[in-house]
C-alpha cells in the first residue's frame, strides 16, 4: 500500500494546478480517490461524518447486482445449450455465458467511463461515481445477441443525453441506463425485439431442436396465456430475456441487499409490486369471460414474474435521482409504475415489455408528484397551530 501511495504521490505534482498535466486533474483525482479514500477533513459544520459516501453507495448497488450478473451468465449458456438440445456441465454452461456477457460489460464501462472522463477533463468537474452502476445496468437490460458497437452507442447516448447535458449525476431526471435501452430499442428495433434473446452461435454437429421457440414469456403472454411457462421456472429464471432480467429470485436477493443496507428504497419496491398486483386484479375482474386466453385473464402475480418486472422494480425504479424524492411521493410513484407496467403489457401488444416505458414515464412525472406532495405539505403546515 505504501508502495502504491508513493507512486501516486510522486506523479501527483504533475496534475495539480501549475503542473504539466494540470488539465487531466479530474481524471487523476478520480483514480486517486478510487485507490485511496481522500484525506480531506471536515472544515466547517460537523466535525465527524457518516462513513458512507457515493462510492460506497454505488459499490453496494454493484454487489446487489452480482446475483443477476452471475445468473444471467449461466442462463445465457443454459438457453443456448437448450436450443441445441445439448447436455452441458454447470461450469461449461456458465463459461459459455460469461464469454458472451463479459465483452458487453467491458464495452459498456469502457465507452461510458471514457465519455465521463472526457467531460470531466473538458469542463474541469470531478468525475462522479454514478456510472459505476449505470455501466453495469446497461448490459443487464440488453439481449446477449446485441452487437458490441450498439452497446457502445448506448453507453455514449446514456452519458451524453442521459446525464451530462443536465449537469452530471444527480441532475438528470430520467434513469440513464433505461434511457440508453429505450434509445436502442426504438433506434434498432430489429436487434432488441423478436427472435434475438438467445445466442444461437452454431454448435458443430448439432442443429436447433424442433420445438425451439425464441419467444419470451411476454410474447407468449400476448398471444395465448395458457402457454406461459410454469411460475416456478419464471421465478427462478429459466427462460429467455435480457441478460439480467430473467431470474426474479436473483433480483429479490439484490433487493434484500439494497433494503438491508439502506441504499435502495423499500417503499418504491413494495409500491411497484403492489401497483402491478392491484392492476392485475382489476383486469382479471374486467376480463372478457368469453375469451379465456385473453391476456387480461393473466393471474395478477404472473406480472411479477414475467419480463423485466422484478429487475425494473428493484434496480431501475429505485434510482434515487430519477424517482420521486418525497417519502409520500415514492408510494404514488411506485404504484403508478406497477399499474402502468400491467396496463402497457395488456393493452399495447406492440411493446409487450411495459416496464421500461412505464418507469421512464414516471421518471418524467416524479417531479410533478413531488410538487403536489410539497404543496399539500405547505398547506398542512399553514393550517397547523
Amino acid at each position: 500500500m505504501k508502495f502504491i501511495r508513493n507512486i501516486v504521490d510522486s506523479v501527483k505534482p504533475q496534475f495539480v494546478k501549475g503542473g504539466k498535466l494540470e488539465k487531466f486533474h479530474p481524471a487523476f483525482e478520480a483514480l486517486e480517490t478510487f485507490l485511496f479514500t481522500p484525506e480531506q477533513t471536515n472544515k466547517e459544520g460537523v466535525h465527524v461524518r457518516d462513513a458512507m459516501d457515493l462510492k460506497r453507495t454505488m459499490m453496494t448497488v454493484i454487489i446487489a447486482l452480482i446475483p443477476t450478473v452471475f445468473f444471467g451468465m449461466w442462463n445465457v449458456g443454459h438457453q443456448h445449450y437448450l436450443a441445441f438440445g445439448m447436455e452441458a456441465s454447470f461450469m461449461d454452461t456458465f463459461l459459455f455465458g460469461a464469454m458472451k456477457v463479459l465483452p458487453i460489460i467491458v464495452v459498456s464501462y469502457a465507452v461510458g467511463l471514457g465519455v465521463e472522463f472526457i467531460f470531466a477533463i473538458v469542463y474541469g468537474h470531478p468525475i462522479s461515481e454514478g456510472y459505476l452502476v449505470t455501466g453495469l445496468l446497461i448490459p443487464l437490460t440488453l439481449p446477449v445477441t446485441v452487437p458490441l458497437w450498439m452497446v457502445g452507442l448506448g453507453a455514449i447516448f446514456c452519458t451524453l443525453l442521459g446525464k451530462e447535458i443536465f449537469g452530471g449525476t444527480g441532475m438528470n431526471f430520467m434513469n440513464p441506463a433505461l434511457l440508453a435501452r429505450a434509445f436502442l430499442f426504438f433506434a434498432f428495433p430489429a436487434y432488441l425485439s423478436g427472435d434475438i434473446w438467445n445466442d444461437l452461435s452454431p454448435e458443430v454437429g448439432h442443429a436447433l431442436v424442433d420445438a425451439y421457440s425464441g419467444a419470451t414469456s411476454l410474447v407468449t403472454f400476448d398471444t395465448n396465456i395458457s402457454h406461459l411457462p410454469a411460475a416456478r421456472d419464471m421465478f427462478l429464471g429459466f427462460r429467455q430475456g435480457s441478460i439480467g432480467e430473467t431470474s426474479v429470485l436473483a433480483c429479490l436477493i439484490g433487493a434484500f441487499i439494497l433494503v438491508a443496507t439502506g441504499v435502495g428504497s423499500w417503499r418504491i419496491m413494495v409500491a411497484v409490486f403492489a401497483g402491478a398486483w392491484l392492476m392485475g386484479m382489476l383486469f382479471n375482474f374486467l376480463a372478457p369471460a368469453d375469451m379465456p386466453t385473453h391476456s387480461m385473464h393473466t393471474p395478477a402475480h404472473y406480472h411479477w414474474l414475467m419480463g423485466g418486472f422484478a429487475f425494473g422494480a428493484v434496480y431501475m425504479a429505485t434510482d434515487p435521482v430519477s424517482a420521486a424524492h418525497t417519502e409520500t411521493g415514492k408510494w404514488v410513484y411506485g404504484l403508478l409504475i406497477g399499474a402502468g407496467v400491467v396496463g402497457l403489457r395488456v393493452f399495447n401488444p406492440a411493446y409487450p415489455e411495459g416496464v421500461m416505458l412505464s418507469i421512464l414515464l414516471m421518471n418524467v412525472f416524479a417531479p410533478l408528484i413531488d410538487h403536489v406532495v410539497i404543496e399539500l405539505h405547505i398547506k398542512k403546515r399553514l393550517r397547523r397551530a
Binding site: T37, P38, R49, D50, L54, G167, I374, I378
Partner: protein
C-alpha cells in the same frame, strides 16, 4: 411515579456514540492570566466600546454595547484592567482582553432578592443592566432576545442529547437554589408561559418533582435519540412557531447564572464545562470562568498532537486552539483525532470500525460500541443523490431537502412555506452528518436564516 403529562416520543434521530464521555467529577480551573470577551460569540451584534485599554473594570461592568440595540450591554466576567482590544479585518473587534485581579474577583453589587417578588419590568431592567440578558435568546434566528418583545413563551430544554454532551441535571444540581431562582425569573418574564423539556429515557438528572413551582402542563417529557434535546425540536412539538411569532429560550447553565444575579446579587460567570472526547486523558467537568484562556484547559490533559479541539460538540461546535478563549454560551469542549490520512481502497473494505447509519459497512453488527471517530470527511462533496436520508434524523414535520433547495434557490416565499422560521443550524446538524453527498447543510441553513432575517 411516572412523569405526569403526555410523553412526546421522537423516533427520528440518531445518537452518535463516541468514546470519552465526561466523568462526574468537577475540577476548578484557576482564572487564567488573561481572559477575553469575544463579540463574535453573539450573532448580529456590532460592538461599540465603553471602556478603553488601561481602564479598571469590575465583574459585571459593561465593556461594550450593541450599536443596533444599545440596551444590550456585554459585561466583563472578571474584575481587573482592560488590557487590549484585538481587532481583525476592517478593524472589527475580535477580542476584548482583560488582565484579571490576582487578589480575587470584585463584583458590581446588585440588590439581592427572590425574583418571584419582582415585576417583569424590574427583572428585565436588572438583566439588561448586568448583561445577563444576553443569555436569553430568541427563535426564529437564534439571536439575543429583544427586551421590547413579549414572547409567546419561554423554553428551557433540561437535557442535551448531543454526542458526549454534559449532563445538564448534574450541572443544575450543583447550584439548585440558583437554578430554581433563575426559573422563577423566567416565569415572570414569560407571564407564566415557561415550558421545560425533560427527558424520560434514559432518565437524566432532572425530573418533574424537581420543579415544584412549574405547573405540570408546562413540563414536557421527551423520549428518543438526538436531536430530542434541541430546544428547537421541542418548540416544534410543543407549540410550533408561525411567521411573526417569537419565542425565547435559555440554556439551563445560563438559567443558573441568572439565578445567581438575584440570589447572590452579582454577575458571577463561572460555568461547568464538560471536557470530552477520545483525545482527552481524563474526561471530566471543569469549572471555569467565561472567557477563560484555553491554554490552561489544553494543559488539562488534552492530547494536542494531531487532534482537533472543538468548543462545543462534534456536530455544531467550532474548531478552537490554544490561544483562543472560552466562548460565552459554551458548555462543552471536545477533542477528537484529526483524520487527514488517506486510506487504501477505503470504500471497498468491510469497515467494521466505520460508523454509518446505513448498513453499507459491517459496523452495524456492533450496535452497542462506542466509536473513536476522527474528522475525516469520508468522501467528497457531490450533488444530492440519495433521498430520504435527512428525514430519518430530523424529528420535525419539515421536508429538509426541499427546504435546503429553496434556500439554494433564494426563494424566500418557499422557505417560509417549508418552515425556515422553525429551524436552526443545530437541528440540521445530523442531516449533515448522514449526508452521502457531504453537503454543507448547516452552512446552507445559516444562509437561509440570514436571508429570511434580512427580508423581514
Amino acid at each position: 411515579m411516572q412523569p405526569m403529562g403526555k410523553t412526546i416520543t421522537l423516533r427520528r434521530g440518531y445518537d452518535i456514540k463516541l468514546k470519552g464521555a465526561a466523568e462526574k467529577t468537577i475540577s476548578s480551573v484557576p482564572v487564567s492570566d488573561v481572559i477575553a470577551v469575544k463579540p463574535s460569540d453573539f450573532h448580529n451584534v456590532v460592538p461599540k466600546m465603553l471602556l478603553e485599554p488601561g481602564d479598571e473594570v469590575l465583574a459585571g461592568q459593561a465593556l461594550f454595547y450593541d450599536k443596533n440595540r444599545p440596551a444590550l450591554r456585554f459585561p466583563s466576567p472578571v474584575s481587573g484592567e482592560v488590557a487590549e482590544i484585538v481587532r481583525g479585518e476592517k478593524r472589527r473587534i475580535m477580542e476584548v482582553r482583560i488582565l484579571p485581579d490576582k487578589s480575587g474577583i470584585r463584583y458590581v453589587d446588585y440588590p439581592k432578592g427572590d425574583p418571584e417578588g419582582y415585576s417583569r419590568e424590574t427583572i428585565i431592567e436588572r438583566l439588561l443592566e448586568s448583561g445577563c440578558w444576553n443569555y436569553i435568546r430568541q427563535r426564529p434566528y437564534t439571536l439575543i432576545a429583544n427586551p421590547e418583545d413579549v414572547p409567546k413563551s419561554i423554553f428551557v430544554s433540561c437535557f442535551d442529547s448531543a454526542p458526549l454532551a454534559p449532563d445538564l441535571g448534574f450541572i443544575a444540581e450543583s447550584e439548585r437554589e440558583n437554578f430554581l431562582a433563575g426559573l422563577d425569573a423566567l416565569k415572570v418574564l414569560s407571564h407564566g408561559h415557561l415550558h421545560l423539556g425533560l427527558r424520560t429515557s434514559p432518565a437524566a438528572g432532572l425530573s418533574a418533582s424537581d420543579f415544584p413551582n412549574i405547573p405540570v402542563e408546562n413540563l414536557h417529557h421527551f423520549k428518543g435519540p438526538h436531536p430530542s434535546g434541541n430546544v428547537g425540536i421541542q418548540i416544534h412539538h410543543i407549540s410550533p412557531l408561525q411567521k411573526g411569532e417569537v419565542v425565547w429560550y435559555v440554556h439551563p447553565q445560563d438559567v443558573l447564572i441568572i439565578g445567581r444575579l438575584f440570589l447572590e446579587g452579582r454577575y458571577r460567570a463561572d460555568r461547568m464545562i464538560a471536557l470530552t472526547g477520545s483525545c482527552v486523558e481524563n474526561p471530566q467537568y471543569l469549572r471555569m470562568i467565561s472567557g477563560q484562556s484555553l491554554s490552561t484547559v489544553f494543559s488539562w490533559g488534552i492530547q494536542a498532537e494531531h487532534c482537533r479541539v472543538i468548543q462545543g460538540n462534534v456536530l455544531t461546535g467550532k474548531t478552537t486552539h490554544k490561544d483562543d478563549f472560552l466562548s460565552f454560551y459554551e458548555n462543552q469542549i471536545t477533542a477528537i483525532p484529526e483524520g487527514d490520512q488517506p486510506e487504501f481502497l477505503g470504500w471497498l473494505l468491510p469497515g467494521f470500525n466505520k460508523l454509518s447509519l446505513s448498513r453499507t459497512y459491517f459496523s452495524w453488527l456492533f450496535p452497542k460500541r462506542n466509536y473513536d471517530l476522527d474528522t475525516n470527511m469520508h468522501g467528497e462533496e457531490r450533488a444530492f443523490v440519495m433521498t430520504g436520508q435527512y428525514d430519518k434524523v430530523l424529528p420535525m414535520d419539515i421536508l429538509p431537502v426541499f427546504l435546503l433547495k429553496a434556500i439554494l434557490a433564494n426563494d424566500i416565499e418557499r422557505m417560509e412555506g417549508l418552515g425556515i422560521y422553525e429551524i436552526s443550524e443545530e437541528d440540521f446538524a445530523l442531516c449533515e452528518f448522514v449526508c452521502t453527498s457531504k453537503i454543507p447543510v448547516q452552512k446552507i441553513v445559516a444562509k437561509g436564516l440570514q436571508m429570511a432575517r434580512e427580508e423581514t
